[in-house]
């Protein structure tokens, strides 16, 4: 990631270089995670991710090791995504905000858009901890131990959430087949 604009005095080259490297490493994964947690809104996901990166920039000096900064960053990201969902719900109640794909004219992405909406709907039907645990572990590949750290819950609780999430999703998406067999939506 190259920096085009000057940050100004007070930012060392070392901090800047660390931050540039951090963004380059985590941008795509953070964006994908936020997108999946929020429910498929690209613009909102970008907003959430940028906000989390700004906080990471401000906190860089506090973290000597990248691994702890990484854990802290994803924890912030998960919390910001939840805040966005909560405020979107309030806006829906008061102002009638519509479907994420309808709101985003670039409703594009891999695979079948209708299936994408069904999956978003099924995830929406889970409780917050179940949804977060499922997305973090099964879609993003965090281990249950890492997810427990991100969610601030014991690992056993995370496993329980995963079990319930899979049960709920199985019921909602029972007719979704293996890609090799053709997708049913």
């Amino acid at each position: 990631m190259a920096r085009d604009a000057g940050i100004g005095v007070g930012v060392s080259e070392d901090v800047e270089a660390r931050f540039v490297a951090f963004v380059g490493t985590h941008r795509d994964r953070a964006r994908r995670l936020a997108w999946r947690l929020i429910g498929g809104d690209e613009a909102a996901a970008e907003d959430v991710v940028q906000d989390a990166f700004v906080r990471a920039f401000e906190a860089l000096g506090r973290f000597r090791e990248e691994s702890t900064l990484e854990t802290w960053f994803y924890r912030i990201l998960v919390r910001q995504a939840h805040n966005h969902r909560r405020w979107r719900r309030v806006r829906e109640l008061w102002g009638g905000v519509g479907d994420a794909d309808a709101a985003d004219p670039r409703a594009r992405g891999p695979g079948d858009p209708a299936l994408r909406r069904r999956i978003a709907g099924a995830l929406d039907g889970l409780s917050r901890p179940q949804r977060e645990a499922f997305v973090l572990v099964h879609l993003e590949g965090f281990t249950t131990a890492e997810t427990a750290g991100l969610m601030g819950k014991p690992e056993g609780t995370v496993k329980s959430h995963l079990h319930r999430a899979l049960k709920g999703l199985r019921a909602q998406l029972a007719d979704v087949h293996d890609p090799g067999e053709g997708i049913s939506s």
């Binding site: 085009d4 994964r29 994908r32 920039f57 691994s67 099964h138 590949g141 999703l169």
Partner: protein, 136 residues
Amino acid sequence: MTEQRKSPGDPAGGDARLVETMREHYAPPEMTPAETAAFNAALWKRIERRRARPGWLPTLVAAGAVAAAAWLALPSVLEVIQGSGAHETVVAEQAAPSDWERDLADPTRIVASNDVETAAELPDDYAAIASAFLGG
């Protein structure tokens, strides 16, 4: 942090296929190089704006919010205070009628009052009225 690492708790069979399908279909589009550059530029702008913001601004905003909440709550607080006072006033007024109310209802009380000196001290015009109406 690891990505896509298998663990003993991974779903098996149908659940594994479901998860794989979701992983494949439920993802944002890849960013183009132009979109990546725009993302980075927007991120630096945010950082600059945040650094340019005065440090006391969040405190000021929080203080303003507290003041606004207190101001909005003030009428209901005043109503509670005044309401309890009015209630007491109503209760007091519903007590036994005062002497002047009894006098108004029954003017003969004035004349029949044991307090002869008070009756004798009526102003002349009142005394004239009393004598005209009460046969004095």
